[in-house]
Subunit: 169 residues, 2 copies
């Protein structure tokens, strides 16, 4: 192991080696206009009560809408949803330009090709420097038919590989 | 898409379809005794300043040590580290029983087979119900030689699959 003493370089080196599941998060502003983005930070915060978290930059195009949203829709993606992941991280005016979404619970934009959707009520937006940790209570969900998962690793989208077996068991 | 109206069932259905990168987080208690656990919740919270987050249950075996720790070591794993991931989620007395770790910066336990290590200073432990979001400032790191990544999906460890190319570009 080689030392990396610069803090930002250490963080970048670490997260280049960390794989993440890819999700899409959507919300609406007070006028009902859809907002959303691709996120690699969605995690569970316990099942009883059902809580989830994700991170967002407070400079992002969805930030103002998120701050006034009561609800968000979180979508899991599979490798069949690569185009959606790319679209939801492209310029915001392109993200809802197609007819691949519908209005779901609480008028939230729902991409029906996602493998599942969890509807969360925003409990807390916790600001940390120029980013925020968003904590939501999961209230209901929608389950799709997609299999597998879409991953992000070393700045590339990746497919899920095979299952591993413990060599010692 | 089919509706799932029970909140806990909705959360479980969602996270079964969400893949996560697998990490190991270690710390020491006030006597210097090593603690640690396998985590699937490590995410970046921005690079300037370099911040990371992970989630932990306040009933976990590492909780008391974490609450008094100034520093933590976060490890990225590859599919070569499957045994380590399994060991660090087995009974706590087994987790540091082998000689696969050494004392790193701040006396933190460092598993040298990991693909990288980020040393974080605990900035904040944010309690939410029976879990907590831990926010750390990344201060330095160690880079190993391992390639690839270890994933967790549908209660199985998985290897990383191939890179995907946008069909529209």
């Amino acid at each position: 192991v080689q030392p990396e003493l610069d803090p930002t370089a250490a963080l970048l080196a670490f997260f280049r080696r960390h794989a993440s599941g890819v999700a899409v998060i959507t919300m609406i502003d007070e006028a009902g206009k859809p907002y959303g983005f691709t996120a690699t930070s969605v995690t569970s915060l316990g099942a009883k009560p059902p809580l989830a978290t994700f991170n967002v930059a407070s400079g992002s195009s969805s930030w103002a809408a998120l701050c006034t949203s009561t609800y968000v829709a979180m979508h899991t993606l599979t490798d069949e949803n690569l185009d959606l992941a790319i679209k939801m991280s492209s310029p915001h005016e392109l993200r809802f330009a197609s007819d691949d979404w519908m209005r779901g619970p609480h008028d939230l934009p729902v991409f029906t090709a996602a493998s599942s959707v969890a509807i969360g009520k925003v409990r807390e937006i916790h600001n940390v420097e120029s980013n925020a940790v968003v904590i939501v209570d999961v209230e209901q969900g929608l389950v799709g038919e997609g299999q597998g998962a879409l991953l992000y690793f070393q700045r590339e989208y990746r497919r899920l590989g095979e299952a591993l077996t413990n060599r010692n068991s």
